[in-house]
Each structure stands twice: as structure tokens, then as C-alpha cells.
Symmetry: D2
């Protein structure tokens, strides 16, 4: 707690950080995939899409797979990978490996979402299990038209669509960044209504700009390590309310894989 402009007004920051919300979503998506896999073990796993979940998912799948390859068109996302056991491939390396016949995955997870990997590339493989993330959430005409996640579910003995939704709330995609932003903004709207609150400020930045335009993975990791919400209020007794409202909104996020075949 710090004083605001005057001693009458206090400034409080949520204990929950932006990264806590991101990790919570990433964990839910990963658990949904693990649940769908039912403990099955694999020789080679390919995860398409490093941002924002891919790294974490690849790490989680190391337990069930002899080899985990993480593929992303952006070479600099390699900097986000912490485990040495994960093989990172950018487009060039992936295409080379593909031509050389080194890729023969029995598990494929595609979380590239809108504008991501093409159905054609996925159809070159013949995995035991293929899981594709459904980037759609609340209905939006344009997003529903452009989405081709069902077309990507074109191979694999067992196929699943990874859905992530927010209960009774509007989010336009199931992307981790979209869900994080909406969770923070909807929480701010609720916190603003508490007695004695002057304003609730979302502590969000354009993280994708940092990662994809500035290409600075370290700065990204630093920026998400900040309290999600700053509240200007009269009394400190609302401190627990802030994190309670954030938690309640985080709990609205649900992730599950629907079997397509």
C-alpha cells in the first residue's frame, strides 16, 4: 500500500500478477490435453506454436514423450524455452527436417490458432493423436469465417479439438493473451463497483509487440511479472477483495478437448 495523491487516498496493487493469470490459463490448457491423452506414451511429439502456451506444453509433454519438438516461425522465440530437452525448430529447420524424413510424430499438438499452420502441412503426418486448438470463443462472424481448425483435424487415429471458454463472459478468441486481457478488464469493472474505490487500473501492456516486434523475450518476461491491477481507494480493507475478484474471474476459464474422431 502506498498513499495516492493525498493521504486520504491509498493505492493498492493486486497480489496476482499478469504472469499468474497467463500461467493459470496455460496450465488449464495443458491439463485438458493431458486428460485427453489418458497417460498414453509417445516416441515423438511435435508442438506447433511456441507463443504463449507452447513452451509450457512442450515441457509438460516431456514426461510422456521420448522427444518433444517445438516449432515456431519466429526464431527468436527460442529464447523463451527453458528446458534443454525440448528441440526448437524455426521454419527453416522444420522444413529441412521434414524433407530429411526426420519427423515422424505420433503426437501432434497445434496451438497456432488464427492464421497458423495450414491443413496441408498437418495432413503430411500420420500421428496416433492430433490435437488442434479451436481459437474461437464467443461468436464473431469474421473470426468464425476465417477459422479453419476443423479443417486441420484431417489426420490422426484419435483427433481432438482443444476448446477454452470463459463462463458467461465475452472473449473473442481462446488465445491466452485474449483471455488474460479480458479477465483483467472484467475484474477491473467489478472492482470499480466496490465501495470506496476511486478507480481500478489494468496493468496491461501490448506484450505481443514486445515479443514479436521488439523481439525481446526477456523484457516480455519482466513485464508480465507485474501486479495485474492497481486500485485507487479510500480504505485498505478491500485488499483481499481485489484478488478474490481476480481469482473468481480466472475460475471462469475452462479448457477441455472434445473428441472429433
Amino acid at each position: 500500500m502506498k498513499y495516492g495523491i493525498t493521504e486520504t487516498v491509498k493505492t493498492i496493487k493486486s497480489k496476482i500478477k499478469v504472469k499468474d493469470i497467463i500461467y493459470d490459463i496455460v496450465e488449464k490448457k495443458t491439463n485438458a490435453i493431458k486428460y485427453f491423452l489418458e497417460g498414453q506414451e509417445f516416441n515423438q511429439t511435435i508442438v506447433f506454436g511456441a507463443y504463449l502456451c507452447g513452451n509450457y506444453m512442450a515441457h509438460a509433454l516431456l514426461k510422456d514423450s521420448d522427444e518433444v519438438i517445438l516449432v515456431d516461425v519466429y526464431p527468436h522465440l527460442k529464447d523463451m524455452i527453458v528446458s534443454e530437452k525440448i528441440t526448437f525448430m524455426d521454419s527453416n529447420k522444420f522444413n529441412l527436417a521434414l524433407r530429411n524424413g526426420k519427423l515422424n510424430p505420433d503426437l501432434i499438438v497445434d496451438i497456432t490458432g488464427i492464421g497458423g499452420i495450414s491443413p496441408e502441412i498437418l495432413s503430411k503426418f500420420n500421428p496416433e493423436v492430433l490435437i488442434v486448438e479451436n481459437p474461437k470463443c464467443t461468436y464473431d462472424k469474421d473470426i468464425f469465417e476465417i477459422d479453419n481448425s476443423m479443417d486441420r483435424l484431417n489426420t490422426g487415429k484419435k483427433r481432438g479439438l482443444l476448446n477454452t471458454f470463459r463462463s458467461s463472459k465475452v472473449s473473442k478468441t481462446s488465445g491466452t493473451m485474449t483471455l488474460t486481457i479480458d479477465t483483467v478488464l472484467d475484474s477491473c469493472a467489478e472492482i470499480k463497483e466496490l465501495d470506496g474505490v476511486l478507480y481500478a487500473l489494468p496493468n496491461l501492456k501490448y506484450y505481443e509487440g514486445i515479443l514479436f516486434h521488439e523481439k525481446d523475450a526477456k523484457k516480455f518476461i519482466g513485464e508480465v511479472n507485474a501486479p495485474a491491477i492497481t486500485v485507487s481507494c479510500l480504505d485498505e480493507y478491500i485488499i483481499p477483495e481485489i484478488d478474490r475478484i481476480l481469482s473468481k474471474n480466472m475460475e471462469k476459464i475452462n479448457s477441455f478437448v472434445v473428441k472429433a474422431k
Copy 2:
């Protein structure tokens, strides 16, 4: 326009910057005061409260007053003053000038808001006109209880209460920062609903921390000089919509002085 993660997704920033919203509110408040003053001229004007309006108001009142004194408890806010014609006084200088009988204002404007200047200090003066800002906006039990703006209207031949409201919208105070934040957040909620929008990100920072804890007026001025909203979307044709929605929400802010005596 920049591409987002993939070429399918675009990133657009509002043309309207945070400072444009701040200045718009500050201008409305200043115009409300000018309108109430009806062209009256003054020998000495004291404006209590430099942040966030005070500097601008003091500047605008230079035309109608031989001398304009801007008083603030925070000495470092002096750095925000651009005009040399405005005399800045921190608490020490103000108290000294008060004791020395150098302060005999015929116009007083108090925009210190919640926890600001005490009714006792204002009662020491006998101005022609006293204007006190009402910090209250949408009803909040605690804020309505702590507010003493009516008690401050205890002197002056002509007295006015400066109100600033948002039409049909919830804001807990009439503070420029509160209104700016709520205008941006309510705009984001509307923009999110547009077809093809993935998310709308408010580009807000805890500006009061920069000014009052870091005491860095320059950094503050730099930070508000940024687009108010970043939008992730499928099509650029929504670009004009973003600023239209922001403008519409800015127009909801109304400022006027109600005569109390």
C-alpha cells in the same frame, strides 16, 4: 498498422492518445469555470491543486487575472508548469506568503478534491468568487461521506461547485485521471464487440505513481503521449471505428459550475 503474431492478424493503435483525453477533460473543466466567471477580471487568482488540471487552468486564467498563483503540496509538480507567468507555491511558500499577508485573492479555484485543502484554510480568504471542485460522480457511500466540498464553499461573494459527470456511465470520481481511465476502459469494452476484433487493450499506466512516487514529471508527459488503445483485429477497415468510439465516449463527459450562492 502492424501484423500481429501471424499475417492474418493486424495490430492497430488509436490515433487518440491518452493525453488527448486528459486535455479534453481539462479543457471542459476550464471552460466550465470560464463560463461561470462571465468575463469578470481579477487581481489575484489562487488555484489549489496542480495535478492534473491545475497547470492548464492556471494558464487559462492568466488572461483574466493580473496574477495567478498555483499552490500544491508537492514541490516537484513545479516541473509541470510551462508558463513563467504562473507563480508556483508549495506548502512552505504558501504558508509564508499567507503569514506575510501577500495573499489576498479575489478568485479562488480549489481542485484538490478528496483529502485536499481544508475548509479552514479557505475560510481565511474573502474572495469575490470561490469555485470548489466536487470530486463526486456516480454515487459511492464511502466517497460521498468523505467528501467535504460543500463545506469548503464557506467564503466568497459568489460561490460555485464544479461538477464533472459522464452521461449514463459509472465513474466514482470526477478526477481527470478517473474519467480518463473509465473512458478508455468503456471504449475498449465497446471496441471488443466489433466484428473481427480479437481484443482491445487499454494502454494505461499508473501515471500517479510516476508523478507522485517516482516524482518524474517528464516521464509522465512521455507516457501519456501514447495511443490510448491497441486493437488486435482481422481487418483494417475498423480503424476509423476505434477513434469514433473513443470520441463518442469522450463526449459523454460534461463539466459545469453550479452556483451555490
Copy 3:
């Protein structure tokens, strides 16, 4: 509880009825006035405006006043009065009594709101206490312009403005019907978000049409004696939630008299 279309879907009605919300608001307004009167006793009280609060207020003021006169331009509103101790006057009777010098109130309560009694009529009296209801709530340019409640506070040794607000919520007037409608609709929006709820239906009618166009006070009393909200849901375990949300929204309503002189 009844089954909906199928046995899987249940229909639940709130225990709280429309009239419970109306009475709760009326009681808060009456208590605010009683608190402002501080136990003072009166010879003659005039309450202007029978709808929707007037009857109840007149009844409550019987304890503190030898005579209570309830004035309304609509003669048929006499049917709403339950106590024989209250003298009802329509415009004709009021004007006659005024000319005959029979009206000399020491307490006046004006709850006629927008387009109600004119300041000129009120200025003909010289009461100990005058209380005028402020019909304004959340800021609305047109309503703020048309309101003349401050002009009506033009007589009386002690003067008070009756405010009624909803914490952090938008209502365009402090009228009992406006606050009732908004309380029910905001509650429906919250109930809709509960897990397993298909829809929440506000059980509201255009009561003012029944009272003022159909002129059927009995029908009005019958219609408000209905559950405020009907909920279609999967499980009955949310039954207590419905009334809890309604109660929470009712608690957001606050009424208090601000001393004007």
C-alpha cells in the same frame, strides 16, 4: 419450482416480489426524511405527489403530525390510500383549500419530481421544514437541464434535498419505479451469468400505464404482487442465489436528505 419445457429444465420464481422492492425503496426514502426531521412534530403536513411513495410517506408522517394532507393532480390515486387519517386532495380541492386559507403547513414534502409542482406554488407557503425530492440520479444532460428541484427549495426555515442513489450503478432518475426497474434488470444480468441458468426474465409491466392511463389502482396493486424474476435453469440449487442477488442489488439503493439551508 415447475418444470420448463422439458423435465431437464426447471422454472424458478424469486421469493422477492416487485412490491417488496418498491416498499424497500419507499421505506428508505421515508426513513431518510424521518431522520432529517429529528423527531420534530408538526401541526399540518402536506405531501405533494401520491405516486409511488406519497401514500406510504403520508402514512409514516401521521405519527409526527396532527394532520397529513396528500395532494395529487390525479383524483383516482385516492384509491391507493389506505388510512382514513390522511386527507387526499386533487388539484381542485387543493386550489380551493388554498384560496380559503385552510393550508398553513409547517412541513412540506414534495416528491412530484420531473414536471411536478412549480416553485411558485411552493413559495406561497412558509413552513418550518421543506423537503424536495431530487429526481436526478446518474448524470443525463436533458434530465439535469429540466430538473428544477433546487428552485423549489425556495421557502422554509429548514430545507432539505431528498437524494436517492444506487451505488456504482446507472439509473437515470431517483424515481421509485426507475430504481425498481433497474434493480430488477441489473439483477437479471447477474443471475444470467450463474452456472446452469438458461435465462432470467424480469417480471415487469408498464405499471404507470395501469395507474395513469387505465386508472386502475387495484390492478396495479395486484400486478406488483408478483415475483420479480422468473429463472429458467437446470438445477434448483440456485434458488437462494436468485434472492441473494436481488437483495444485494436492493442494498445498493441509498436515500438521504442533504441540508440546503
Copy 4:
């Protein structure tokens, strides 16, 4: 337009009636099905579920089918059917016809939704085309768990899931009544924000109670033939705004069939 309580306040009713919204949704769902059928012609069509769309759909399918049978567990819904060409069957008649081998549909449309027809019954047929309505809309844990629409898509050479969504808005089911209620309530929230509006009243009743508990189809048809929204306001110039806002919200509803096989 009528005057409200005082001549200052006007009462306006939307030109759009409740039935206009219902028919608009029913038409969108029917068009989605027609589009999916691509002009194909059928010998026998069975529509499961008379309420609220079934009757209209059955009527529309008469053009493409020699025989159209409408099946509903509620015998009294027969009263809603206007065309003599449609054969209505309640449970008893349907079971009898099934046993007698008189049912051999080449088109089945199931709009019974949550708690509706069982997958087992549908699996007894072998139609050219089977269309099942997806009752889910915005994510709700309990509703998503109970829904078995995908399980019902268990037969037919060509299979489709009828989806109906509201763009960027929360509705818990795709049911015509749910979408109608939410369209009216969301419109009321928008209308309330217009300058000079005192309140916006949704003119909704518990129609399902009238149809399923009172079993009064005529009363139902009368009740939906009423203006959707009543508005209390200062100026009549907002009249076109009311229907514009309602229309805009009706346009947010989209219906389409997704091919499942």
C-alpha cells in the same frame, strides 16, 4: 406516444413487437436449414419439437417435402399449427406410427434442445439428412455437460448441427425464447443510456408458462403481439432510436448449419 405521470414525461413503445423478434430468429434458423439442404427434395420429413420454431420450420419445409410430420410431447401445441398440410403427432401417435412402420423419413430436423429427444430414438431412422439443433451458445459448464446434441447426430447420410449465436453477446442457449429475452434486455440497457431517457422497460412475460403450464396457445399468440419495449423519456425525438437499437441487436443473431459428416 402518451404522457407519463406528468406532461413533461412521455411514454413511447417500440414499433417492433415481441413476435417480430421471435419470427426474425425463427426465420434465420429456417433459412440456415434451407441453405444446408441445397434445394434437395424429400418424401417424408419429421420435425421434432413444435415450440417455438417447429411450426414455422415445418411450414417452410412443405415446399421441399411431400409430407411433413411435426412431433411434440405436448398434445396441446397442436393448436399452434396453422397449415392443414402438416401432420401433428404427440408422443402416443408418434410411438404408434413408429411401431406400425409408417415412419420412414428421409429428412429429420431435431430442435428439441436440452432434455429433448433421445439419441436412441433418432438412431432408429436412416434418413438422407439429419439436422440437430445445438442448444449451446455462450459457454456454461452445466449446460455444456448436459447437452447431447452431438450424440444425436448418430444417423443420416448427411448430418448437420444447427448453431445460432449472438455476436459478442452473452446468451446461455440458442433457444428462440432465450435469444428473444436477451435481445430485448440488452436493447433496454442501451436505450437507458440515451439522453433524456428515464427508464426502458422490457415488455416480456413468462411465455413458456402460458404455453406449457396454462396450455393456452391463443393467449400466447396474443401476448407476443405487444411492443417489445416501453420507454419513459423527455423527448419524442428518440422514437426512431428505440427501434434502431432493437434492430441492431436483432442483427447480432446468426444461424448456420455446420456439416458434421
